[in-house]
Amino acid sequence: MTLLRVRALSAFYGDFQALFGVSLDVAEGETVAVIGANGAGKSTLLRALAGALPVPREVVTFDGQPVGGRPAHALVDRGIVLVPEGRKIFPSLSVQENLLVGAHRRRPGPWTPERVYRLFPVLGERRAQPGTNLSGGEQQMLAIGRGLMANPRLLLVDEISLGLAPLVVQHLYAVLEAVKVEGTTLLVVEQDVSRVLAMAQRVYCFRKGSVSLHDVPSRLTREQIASAYFGA
């Protein structure tokens, strides 16, 4: 069943058009990857889906309902939750408080701070410290944990590998794997192509604000990806 359906989405930052008629589907329980070079519009897509950019109502449907352009907090109520690019941890809040902000809407579900700490024990050890005292990798764990605290149906994940050591990235993806197994639908934006192709059921490649390639990872060759990525 299609959970998220995007049809001909265009998005703008002022006069600058970042997305040109993007269409995309995500089925319930599926993991979909979005890859592409810097500036291809990947993060813009996630921000538009999360309610941070104005989009027409009918362009995005979630669980059969048109939700385009709804305010972010209303989308969180429906279970669309973003783990933003650059982590965006709140510096005035402790680790635990950052998690609790994720649960601000009190959407029912299984996630509690204790459950996040079982997933990332280091966060539990440092729960009373300011969130931005953590290392980059730990902050990324916190950002994922904060997103999970909203009990998402669809988790939008933006470049969690950015600037992190390969071992840390491996750990983060193992956690996403576990989240996926529990039935949360994932839409993952990533530059680390091989990492995300190993995990996703389907992949969309973006180039200059449009979808340049869309397929099942196992059917794609390295050359196809390279040409979709950089242009032929």
């Binding site: 999360a50 005035s92 809040l93």
Partner: protein, 291 residues
């Protein structure tokens, strides 16, 4: 002993200034909005108390039970209907609009209550005093004002540090866009912050009206003292606001001891000195709400 008396009176006066400054500091911390009508709202609250006292035949302290919620509702409505539309475009639009509001409130009060000075009568409480021996006596009312200021600050600190609402205030103060993405409804949150701000300044306005006379035009002075207390104490620090109020109060009573005309001037000079020597204030950690 004269000096000890002067300083005690100044400290207690500082409690009143902290009451004026707290709401101003809170909304600047949460949403970077400078409310130039803040002082006028306190005077509006004092006039509301005048009406409530006449209509309900109660004392001004009891009238607070009506005035505070009314001002909170005014704050919430004002924020949601007007001020929220101005945010995110820099600090200037809100400064202009609240300046206009200040003019509107003053003229509304002038039309309704004339230019006469008014006073709230608390049935002798304002003149009752507690002798401390050695020629020093402190008024019960300034003591009560100071105690209320401290209690409100403690309450506000608990709210900001321990509750979901306070957590949301701090998150929105750090990063409004990410706060919104995490599910915080900033429009509503800002409405609640302004409600809280005007509820606190309503208490300040009524206490001012019991302490001294006021007219429709008394607001801007209050705003100035509130700004001075906030800047001396340091933006974003609740207890800094109290210390700032106390320093301003002591400077004013000390200056007035030399000559009655020097009180306000001495306050301004201390404020300028702090601005020169410690521009970020005495207790500023950063420009955000601090628990």
């Amino acid at each position: 002993m004269v000096w000890a008396d002067t300083i005690v009176q100044g400290i207690l006066l500082g409690g009143l200034y902290a009451l004026f400054a707290t709401g101003l500091s809170l909304i600047f911390g949460v949403m970077r909005l400078v409310n130039l009508a803040h002082g006028d709202f306190s005077i509006l609250a004092a006039f509301l108390a005048v009406v409530a006292v006449q209509m309900l035949d109660v004392g001004p302290l009891l009238a607070l039970g009506l005035v505070v919620p009314v001002m909170a509702v005014v704050g919430y409505g004002l924020q949601r209907l007007v001020l929220n539309r101005l945010l995110g475009r820099g600090i200037l639009p809100a400064v202009l609009v609240t300046f206009g509001l200040s003019v509107v409130i003053q003229n509304g009060l002038l039309e309704t209550f004339s230019a006469d000075s008014h006073r709230l009568n608390a049935g002798g409480l304002e003149t009752a005093s507690l002798p401390l021996g050695g020629g020093i006596a402190v008024g019960w009312f300034p003591l009560l004002t100071f105690a209320v200021a401290v209690l409100l600050l403690v309450g506000l600190q608990l709210l900001i540090g321990r509750t979901a609402l306070g957590r949301a205030f701090r998150a929105a103060s750090d990063d409004r866009e990410t706060a919104e993405l995490m599910g915080i409804d900033n429009g509503r949150l800002y409405g609640l912050a302004m409600a809280l701000s005007l509820a606190i300044v309503a208490v300040a306005g009524v206490f001012l009206g019991i302490r001294t006379t006021f007219t429709f035009a008394s607001g801007p002075d209050r705003l100035l003292f509130a700004f001075e207390a906030v800047i001396i104490g340091g933006l974003g620090s609740l207890w800094g606001t109290l210390v700032g109020g106390v320093i301003l109060g002591v400077a004013q009573t000390t200056g007035a001891r030399f000559s009655p005309g020097w009180g306000v001037l001495a306050g301004h000079l201390v404020f300028l000195a702090v601005l020169l020597l410690r521009p970020s204030g005495l207790f500023a950690k950063s420009q955000r709400v601090d628990s």
